[in-house]
Each structure stands twice: as C-alpha cells, then as structure tokens.
C-alpha cells in the first residue's frame, strides 16, 4: 500500500522535505507547539459548542423560568441557549474547556513571543514570521473578545457595549464604523448573528491561514538552533526529526496538556452565565476584561477626561486610551525586528545576558504592561483602602514611569553583575589551569 500511495503522492519526497524536519531539543521550543495544540482543541470544542448554540438576540420565553402568561420572562435566545448548554450533560464542562484553552493559548503565545524576543530569534531572516506572529496575537485577542460576547449575559452585554463605544470613538468615521461592525445602532437586532459570524467563521479562518503561513515559513527557514548545536556541529542543523522522534514527544505533550486543561476545567468554573443573568440596565460592579487586555483597561481607568474637536471630528480619552495607545504599543512590538541592523542570517539562539539592553528593554516593557494592568484594579485598590480616590491616578501614573525605569536599570545592573562574576570565574579557572600547566 505504501508503494501504491508513494507512486501517486510521492510520500518519500514529503518524508524528506517535511516529516524529517529537525526539531531542536530544548523545552522552550515547546511553547509554540502548545499554542498550536490549543488552537486545535479550541476548534474542536468550538464546533461541539456551535452545535447547541443559537445565534440570535431576539427575545424568547425562558423555558427554565417562563414567568406568567401576561408577564412572560423573556430573555435573548443566545443567552437561553447558553443556559440550556449548561444543563446538558458535560455542557458546562465543554464551555469551560473552551474558555480555559483560550486563556492558555494566549498565555502560551505570549511566552513563546518572549522566548523569540529574548533569544533574538526575530532577527534576519525571520522578521516576516515575527510579524505574522504579531498578527496571530492580535487576531487571537479579537477572537477571544468576540467569544466573550456570545453567551449574551449581562456581562457580555456590558462588554460589547464598551467595545461598541470604543469603535464609535474613532474620529470622523466612528459611528459608521461601529454600526457597520455591529449591525446597526447598539444593540441592534443583528448583533449576535454578526458576532457569531466573526467568532466562528471570519476570525478562525484568519487564524488558521496565518498559522499555516507561520508554520510553512518556520519549516522553510528552520528553527534557530540552540547554543549547544554550535558546539556539536557548527552551521549544521541539529535536532530530532519530526517522524519518528518528535512525534511521540508531541503526543505526550498533547495528552499531558489536554489533561491539565481538563483538570482546570473540572475544578475552576468559568464565567457563570446564570450569575450575571440576561442583559439588563443594572451595571456590573468591577467588570474587567481578560488578563491580556487588562492593560488597555488600566490605561482607560487612569487617563484624565478630555475632548478635542478637530475639523468636526472628536478626539476623546476613549479613542486615545483604547485605540491610539494600544496601536503605539503594538506598533513598537511590530518594529522589533527593524531595530536589528545585522546583515547576516541568525542561526543560533542568543543568550539573553549577552544583550543586556535588549533584555532590559524587554523586561521594562513587561513591567509597564503589568503596572498598567494593576491600574485596571484601580476601583478595587480604592475599595481596599490601598489608595484613595484623590491620589489613585497620581500614584498609578508615577508608578507607570518609575517601575519600568527601575526595572530597566536593575536588569542592566544584574546582567553586569553576572558578567563580572562569570569573567572572574573564567580568569580564575584560566590562572588555575595555567598554574597546572607549569
């Protein structure tokens, strides 16, 4: 049979080209794989969930609590279907797996990017893949946000309201843009079908296409080689082939990973739709986005209120905090490969401590995002009496500058220290061996 297939499909060529692709042996190279597996789990659980989901926000009678004939209890069909899903055997579990995997996917992607950044793997010739990776991150976040909205409980309702407000805050074209994106004035009759289309067709399609491009480029360009490869065989590719060595490792990883997600999902509930109830005029106290968008939220919480009118357009704090600022941050991340001017192709993963400035910029950037995320907890910090309403903004603004700066200098200091120790070590061993030689 192999021969029959081979004659038609040239399996042996495929084998040489792809299936023998060498994988570097280092645990940090698994992060990308975890991200990929998460995407697959998300698609599978997503399909299962879509089978029972009703993408409509028209009001129907709640079958769990129908009310009375003259005062029926009407709730949106999408919310109703989420309730029904929870009532199904393992329905709640399926939602939890989907939710947890989404969080883990973003986390794995972020750590994967950190690995790429700190080891210099974004350098020539891999710039394109860095950019595709950035797009993947952005679209993953968008997919997550649209997914949030689908259960259409009060939480989702408030979320989509803010997202609509952000889209509408773009000067000049804002209201047109928001209406086009969300099917009319908020909350139009078509809002859930629209977001459903985004979440299950458009965005996953984009994610899959980008993932395919990401992987093909990676196969074409090969991984950066870990440092030990330099010593073993200079400028040669060192690693284990996909078939048959890497595959069992991957399978193990998948199973282990799936197991961990199951464990999470079994014990940590997510987003209780019953608790938040159907959309209502009652706001939710301390509503917050997921952790990977908390920094934008924090920026909005401490930005002062202002409004400029320019040529009939309005530029307000909403636009600056929720669109301009993230654009600047993401733009800076996009620009990372362009800051490196080296002409040669980079073969080897670099030791971060050999590039103290890059390392320090990276850590202080992360410190900045963390402080901004902490600012997202401003209301909670105030109610816990850590800060007061009067001083919260000032304190958080100061922290936003001081902490990243401190992190920068601390990192550089620590790296210098490490290097000095290392050099002292080397000198010592050198003098010892010299002494032994005598």
């Amino acid at each position: 049979m192999n021969q029959w297939l081979d004659e038609r499909l040239h399996i042996s060529r495929l084998n040489d080209k792809f299936l023998r692709k060498a994988f570097p042996v280092h645990h940090s190279f698994f992060l990308g794989e975890i991200t990929l597996f998460s995407l697959i789990i998300l698609i599978i659980t997503g399909i299962v969930l879509a089978l029972s989901y009703e993408p409509s926000n028209s009001l129907i009678v709640n079958s769990f609590d129908p009310g009375t004939a003259d005062k029926p209890n009407l709730i949106p069909a999408a919310y109703h279907s989420a309730l029904k899903m929870n009532a199904m055997p393992f329905g709640d579990m399926m939602r939890r797996v989907h939710h947890w995997t989404a969080n883990i996917m973003v986390a794995a992607a972020v750590i994967h990017m950190m690995r790429i950044y700190f080891t210099g793997a974004f350098k020539k010739p891999r710039e394109i893949n860095w950019w595709i990776g950035m797009l993947l991150l952005i679209f993953a976040a968008l997919t997550a946000v649209t997914g949030y909205i689908l259960p259409y409980d009060n939480y989702a309702y408030n979320t989509v309201k803010v997202v609509y407000g952000i889209a509408a805050s773009v000067p000049w074209v804002g209201s047109w843009l928001a209406q086009a994106a969300f099917a009319g004035n908020f909350p139009g009759d078509g809002i859930i079908p629209r977001i459903y289309g985004y979440h299950i067709m458009l965005l996953p399609g984009i994610l899959l296409a980008l993932t395919a491009a990401h992987m093909l480029l990676m196969i074409k360009q090969k991984h950066t080689q870990p440092q030990y490869a330099k010593r073993i065989a200079y400028k040669k590719i060192v690693g284990v082939p996909l078939l048959t060595q890497q595959t069992p490792i991957m399978l193990m990883l998948t199973l282990l990973f799936a197991g961990i997600i199951m464990l999470f999902s079994a014990f940590i509930p997510v987003h209780p739709v019953e608790f938040f109830g159907p959309p209502s005029t009652t706001p939710i106290e301390n509503i917050k986005p997921d952790w990977y968008l908390l920094w934008v939220f924090g920026a909005l919480a401490i930005i002062p209120s202002f409004e400029f009118h320019i040529l009939g357009g309005i530029i307000g704090s909403e636009f600056v905090g929720a669109i301009l600022l993230p654009t600047v941050v993401i733009g800076a991340m996009f620009a990372v490969p362009m800051l490196d001017r080296s002409k040669d192709n980079n073969y080897y993963a670099e030791n971060p401590t050999n590039h103290p400035v890059r390392l320090a910029i990276g850590t202080s950037f992360m410190a900045l995002l963390i402080i901004m995320s902490v600012a997202g907890y401003k209301p909670d910090l105030i109610s816990a009496n850590v800060l007061t309403t009067a001083n919260a903004n000032t304190v958080l603004w100061i922290l936003m500058f001081v902490v990243p700066a401190a992190t920068y200098f601390a990192t550089i200091g620590i790296v210098r220290g490490i290097r000095a120790l290392r050099e002292a070590d080397e000198r010592e061993s050198l003098s010892h061996s010299a002494a032994a030689d005598d």
Partner: protein
Amino acid sequence: MTRYRKQDPEITRRRFINAAMGTTATVGIVSLVGVLGTANPVFRLTRDKMPPVEGDILVHASASKEGEIIKVSELSEQLIRAWPMGKDKEGNNLIRKGDPNNVLALYRFPKGQIIAPTNLEATIDGEIVAYSDICTHAGCSVSDDDQTEGQMKCPCHSGQYDPKRGCKVVGGPPPRPLAQLPIKQDGDKLVVAGFFLENPYPFTESEWEARKEAVKAQLA
C-alpha cells in the same frame, strides 16, 4: 541581410503575474467597499427607540419592579433607574426601552444641595433631578458610588460624576457630564418636560439636534 530588431512579442510570466495580482487587489478592494456598505443596516426610528419626549411618564427600570410608575415618595439619595414611558400610535402605554441608552437616573437631595451647573429650572423644586444614566465615555450604566455618599461611579473604567453639580465629571475618563433631563411633577408622578438639555451618549451635538428634529417630525 535583414536585421531583426530583438523583440519579445509575449509578455513575460512575471509581468503577467504582477498584472493579475494588481487587478485582483483592485477588484477585491472595490468589492470589499461594496460589501461594507451593505454591512450597515438602515436605522428606523420607532417610538420605542425615541429618546424621552415631553409628557413621558417615568417608570421603574430595575428588573423586579419594571414598568411600575415611580412615585415621588420613593425617591432618595439612592439612585433609581427609570425608563420613559410614552404612547404608541394606538395610544397604549409603551416603555421606550428599544434603545437601552434611554435609561435614566433619578435622585432626590435635600433642598439647597443641588447647585449649578445643574439647571435648577429643569429639576423639581431644586430637589429632584434626572439624568441620562449612560456614561458618556463608552456607554455603561452608571451606579451610586459605594465610596462616597451622593456621588456616581461608572463601573466600567471608574468614571465619577457629581449628580448635585450637574453630573459633571469628577474623576476618570468620561469626556462630558451626563445629560440632564428636564422633569416636572404631576400629582405623585414624574413627567418628562422636554428633551435632554445636552447631547446624551452616544450622540454628538449635531446628531442630537438631528435626532430631536426627527422625533418632532414623527410625533407631529
């Protein structure tokens, strides 16, 4: 002997591919614009989507008491959320909650506490005041501030308003005060006395003027 000028009658493959890609991109962008045009449905101003109009009666918006007429005696320094209730074409009662941005916030403060820039003529005896309950920042419903008595806080990005001073912004990102709604008293009922004094969320000034005209034209 004839000299042939060297010429290549066929376009090269590369030229062809470039031209094809250019055409595809152009057609693609043009059709995308077309599609985006259809993505935005027409808005129809129905009576349940109208902003509060003169003569509307205020009813409770909280889930437990929704639709019950608010009595003056129920008001206090605690926020009460309300919907405007008008009439449909047949003259039946109709709660204008087709647009969730119509939700209102009602307060009653001891006399003398409500001060400028609140429009005192639009309050009832300088004691009862009504505002749009929709945060001018991104459109969340605003609540009582649990930290400071008699203040309002938006749970979304902690915008803060002072309802005794025209709901001006006292903290956080909202760009404008909440719009004040003129009200008057009719027996024990609260009645809307006119349009919002400023543009409420999500209208800009010119959009708000246009909406007021559209409402007047439809009700006339």
